[in-house]
Every structure is written in structure tokens, then in C-alpha cells.
């Protein structure tokens, strides 16, 4: 448990409550509804892909779950309580949203995840830096701890943010398009780390444009376009009707003899 002086009173996790339960969630962004009446529940250790076109509300959903945006209606419960009392929710930003020239090293960024646990007026101690070293080892960045963050490759930058989530002792990790722009080996590294997180019972939601990866590498998939169009096994969710409902003309579907082939999601990057 966190010691020291804190700004906010933190909630304990309610035994038996699901790690995430979202009920009738509606969020307005710039006066327009970005999410409407979204309801679903996740259990500990689950890995869920969130797919949908640009503007579908993927980032808005994540920010509402993290307690950064307030819902206009409905509720988010993390382990039984509203997200505002938790510091166990990690949001991994899109790489394009980060100022990579900021004067911080990889270890500095990972240490930022500890700030909530450290509390006011306490500087990181030897055991905190030791913990950072362990987190970097999990993601395979031990040797790069002292690098300025701009010196990392895209995959390494993404792994650094996962290490920060580990340092934060996150139980729920929300990753905003972590796979965009990564080549296959780098994506493989990320999934190996996500497997490790699953063993630690960490629940992970990943926003992605890659429907094939979503179908292959996740426990469940969620199809979103302002409304929740489906959550479950890829076979149940990625049906032609639902995909057309989500993407309209922006998706090329080919119905083959033994199923459905998705050619591409033609929109990528830069959405909210």
C-alpha cells in the first residue's frame, strides 16, 4: 500500500468486484456525444482489443475509464469503486502524443509511475530505483535506462511505457494504439510482454486498427463506433453486418468459402 502524504484518499479494491465494470456510459466531448450507453465488464488478467474507425471513441473510452474525462451519464467502476480513487489504472499514450525531446531518461519516465505511490515530499530511494530496474528488465530495456527517450526505437518507446505501468503497479492498463507503426518483430516483443502481464493478472485493453491481430492475439474483441457494437469472441463480433455498421465503406470485406476476409481498415492514426 502507498505510504507517505497523498493528495487523494485512495480506495481499496473490493473483494469479488470485477476489475472493470462500465455501465450505460455516455461521454460528451466538445459538446457532441463521443460515447453512448456503453456497457461491459472485464475480469482480472483479460486482454481485450478495442477496434473501431477513427472517431469511434476509443481514446474517449480509455480516458473515461482512467477517470481523466467525466461521464455525462452512466458509471465506471474499477474494482468496485469509481476510477478517481485509484492509482492502479495506467494509460499508455499514443506515441504521437508524447514530447520525445523532453529532457528525461528512460528510467526517469518509468520512475514517474512511482510518483503516486511515493507521495508528497519523498524522493525516490534506493529501493525505488531497484524497482525501476526490475520493471525495465521485464520489458527488456535494462541496458537503455540512462538513454534520453528520443534515442529509443518505436518498439522500445512502447515498452518503456509498459514498464512505467508496471512501476505504477497497475491492475488495469489502457494502451492507445501501441502497435501502430511497429514491425512484426517489435509487435511480437510487445505481445510477449502482454503475456507476462496476463500471468500477473493485469487486465489490458488495447486500441488497435489491426483487425487480424485483434482476432488472433486477444481473449476478446470489442467493436466500437460511439456505441458498443459487440464484445466477445472474434467470430461472434466480427460479422459482416457488425463490421459494416462500424466502418461503413471504410472496410474492404471479402466473403470467402470458409469465412470472412478483412482486407484493410483504410483509416489510420491521429484520432481522438
Amino acid at each position: 500500500m502507498a505510504r507517505g502524504i497523498h493528495f487523494t484518499r485512495l480506495e481499496t479494491h473490493e473483494a469479488g468486484a470485477p476489475i472493470l465494470s462500465v455501465t450505460e456510459l455516455t461521454v460528451h466531448y466538445d459538446g457532441r456525444p463521443a460515447l453512448e450507453e456503453v456497457t461491459f465488464t472485464l475480469s482480472g488478467g483479460e486482454r481485450v482489443a478495442v477496434v473501431g474507425p477513427n472517431g469511434a471513441g476509443k481514446s474517449t473510452l480509455f480516458k473515461a475509464i482512467a477517470g481523466v474525462l467525466s461521464p455525462s451519464a452512466g458509471a465506471v467502476k474499477v474494482a468496485g469503486h469509481g476510477p478517481g480513487g485509484h492509482i492502479c489504472i495506467a494509460y499508455v499514450p499514443q506515441r504521437s502524443q508524447v514530447d520525445w525531446s523532453f529532457p528525461v531518461t528512460v528510467a526517469d519516465v518509468v520512475m514517474m509511475g512511482r510518483v503516486g505511490r511515493l507521495g508528497l515530499f519523498r524522493r525516490p530511494q534506493r529501493q525505488d530505483w531497484e524497482r525501476i530496474r526490475q520493471c525495465l528488465t521485464v520489458v527488456g530495456l535494462t541496458g537503455l535506462a540512462g538513454r534520453q527517450i528520443a534515442e529509443l526505437s518505436g518498439g522500445q518507446q512502447q515498452r518503456m511505457f509498459i514498464a512505467r505501468a508496471l512501476a505504477q503497479e497497475a491492475q488495469l492498463v489502457l494502451m492507445d494504439e501501441p502497435l501502430t507503426g511497429l514491425d512484426l518483430p517489435n509487435q511480437g516483443d510487445i505481445f510477449a510482454i502482454l503475456d507476462d502481464l496476463r500471468r500477473r493478472q493485469v487486465t489490458v485493453m488495447v486500441a488497435t486498427h489491426d483487425l487480424n491481430l485483434a482476432a488472433e492475439r486477444f481473449d476478446r474483441v470489442m467493436l466500437l463506433n460511439r456505441r458498443l457494437l459487440g464484445i466477445g469472441q472474434p467470430g461472434e463480433v466480427f460479422t459482416p453486418e457488425r463490421l459494416r455498421l462500424a466502418y461503413g465503406g471504410h472496410l474492404r470485406l471479402v466473403e470467402t468459402g470458409d469465412g470472412l476476409a478483412v482486407l484493410s481498415d483504410t483509416c489510420c492514426g491521429g484520432d481522438l
Binding site: 481523466v68 523532453f102 528525461v104 531518461t105 514517474m112 510518483v115 525516490p124 512505467r164
Partner: protein, 279 residues
């Protein structure tokens, strides 16, 4: 070595050097966040906007330093909080709102000071500083308030760092982002007031931004950036004062020019982001 020691035989030079060093350090440390958060225009506007407060202090006291400092401090803190609030609800863009406020306040300050017949000299001191007129009392005020600013930055440094690098992380760690933002605005305001006698309203932003920008080019960690910025700020103060002594130019301008020279030099030679060695 005689040329180094000779100016020190004048007590006003010694006090000026001490003030310039303290101001250089305080402004550079606060300025690190000004540069990283892109608040240079805010700092410049704030320095100009405190003029009416100082003018009122000047009018009610007949020119005594103490009241000018306190009136300036009050105005600076209120203006900083006011600008912070404008940014959140203005109908025009934030920088436009700041521009309107700062020009209006500055004009009011000049108008107030111009009601005094002999105003030209005093106005020049407000605008460009009067580091050689620093009294022992001024030094104490600079030391105490500058020290408070440094201690506060150190106390909240890891929170300020998170807020500046990743506001969403600050929110998910449940840091009070709004309160921390206003605290930073107030710290900038106090740093501005502490420095006004040294470099004046018009050149204030040079102390706030230039050493920190030079340090940004040279370093890869925040603590190092603050340290190098403080060093450059303090050195600029000392070198600038010696320059003004020997070349006989205005001291505030000399200090700001040395800051600028430091920046241009590092921009050319920075190993990481410079023109010569950078990628």
C-alpha cells in the same frame, strides 16, 4: 587579476553582483519549466502586467523600494492567477487574451508613473532595471523570496515533472493538476518580481527563458537542465555586470545580452541538438 577585483571596491557593485547571481539562479530554475511548458509569452506578459502595481507602490511611497516590491508582488500573484483563469474560459484564444490584458495593464502602469513630473528616470529603472541601486534591504527580499521559490520547486519537482511531461499520467496518479498549475504560475510571478530590479520589466523574459533554453540544448535530464541553466543565469549576471562596468553600457541590457550570447554559443556547439554536432 586587478580588473576582476577593482569593481568589488564599490559596495554597490558587490550588492549588484549578489543580486544578479541570485536572480540568475532563481529565474533559470523556474525558467526550466517555462521553457518545457512553452510559457515564454506568459512570463513576458506577466512581467509587463505588474507595472501598474509597482506604479501604485511608487506613487504612495514617493519612490521607496519596499512598497514597490510588495505592491508588485501582490499584482504579480493576482495577475498570474487571473491569466490562468482566462486561459480556461476566455472566448478568444488564450494568447490573444493574455496579449490584451498585458498591453492594457502595461499602459495603465506607464500612465500612472507619468503623473509624476520627474518620471522618465524612474520609468527607465522599472523598464530596464537598476541593479546598481540594490540596497541591503533589497538583497534580503531577493534572498528570502528567491529561496522560497527554489525550495518550493524542489519540494514539488517530481509532481511538476509528471504534470509537464504527461498531464494524463498526472490525472491517473490523482495529482491535483489544477492546483499544481496555479502553484507554478505563482512561482513564476514571484521569480519575476524578485528579478525586476535587476533586469527590469522589458528584459525579464531573457532571464526566465534564455539560460533555460541554452541548458535544454546541452542536457538530457531535468535536474541537469536546471543546474546548467542556473549556472548560465548566474554567470550571465556576473559577466554582464563586469561588461557594464568596463564598457559602460546599461547593466540590465548587458546581462540580457550575455544570456543571449550563451544561448547562441550553445546552439552552435551543442553536442546533442546543436548546429555543428547535432544530427
Amino acid at each position: 587579476m586587478g580588473w576582476l577585483i577593482e569593481p568589488l571596491s564599490y559596495p554597490f557593485m558587490v550588492r549588484g553582483l549578489l543580486a544578479a547571481v541570485m536572480v540568475g539562479v532563481v529565474c533559470a530554475v523556474v525558467g526550466t519549466y517555462v521553457v518545457l511548458r512553452g510559457m515564454a509569452f506568459f512570463g513576458d506578459a506577466l512581467a509587463h502586467a505588474v507595472l501598474p502595481g509597482m506604479a501604485v507602490g511608487y506613487l504612495v511611497s514617493g519612490g521607496a523600494r519596499g512598497p514597490i516590491f510588495w505592491w508588485g508582488l501582490g499584482t504579480a500573484v493576482l495577475t498570474a492567477i487571473g491569466i490562468g483563469a482566462i486561459g480556461k474560459r476566455a472566448r478568444v484564444k488564450e494568447d490573444t487574451a493574455i496579449g490584451i490584458l498585458f498591453a492594457g495593464m502595461f499602459a495603465l502602469g506607464v500612465a500612472l508613473i507619468s503623473t509624476v513630473r520627474s518620471y522618465a528616470v524612474d520609468l527607465a529603472h522599472f523598464l530596464f532595471g537598476d541593479v546598481l541601486g540594490v540596497s541591503p534591504g533589497d538583497l534580503w527580499l531577493t534572498g528570502v523570496f528567491g529561496g522560497l521559490v527554489l525550495l518550493t520547486v524542489l519540494a514539488f519537482n517530481k509532481e511538476f515533472l509528471v504534470l509537464s511531461f504527461d498531464p494524463v499520467l498526472a490525472a491517473t496518479l490523482r495529482l491535483p493538476a489544477t492546483a499544481l498549475h496555479y502553484l507554478l504560475l505563482v512561482l513564476i510571478a514571484v521569480a519575476v518580481i524578485v528579478s525586476l530590479q535587476t533586469v527590469g520589466v522589458a528584459l525579464m523574459v531573457a532571464m526566465l527563458v534564455t539560460p533555460a533554453a541554452a541548458a535544454y540544448l546541452l542536457t538530457r535530464r531535468l535536474a541537469a537542465m536546471m543546474g546548467v541553466a542556473a549556472l548560465i543565469g548566474a554567470l550571465s549576471g556576473v559577466v554582464g555586470l563586469y561588461l557594464s562596468y568596463y564598457v559602460r553600457v546599461a547593466s540590465g541590457a548587458a546581462i540580457a545580452l550575455v544570456c543571449t550570447a550563451f544561448f547562441l554559443f550553445t546552439m552552435a556547439l551543442s553536442p546533442r541538438r546543436g548546429i555543428v554536432w547535432g544530427k
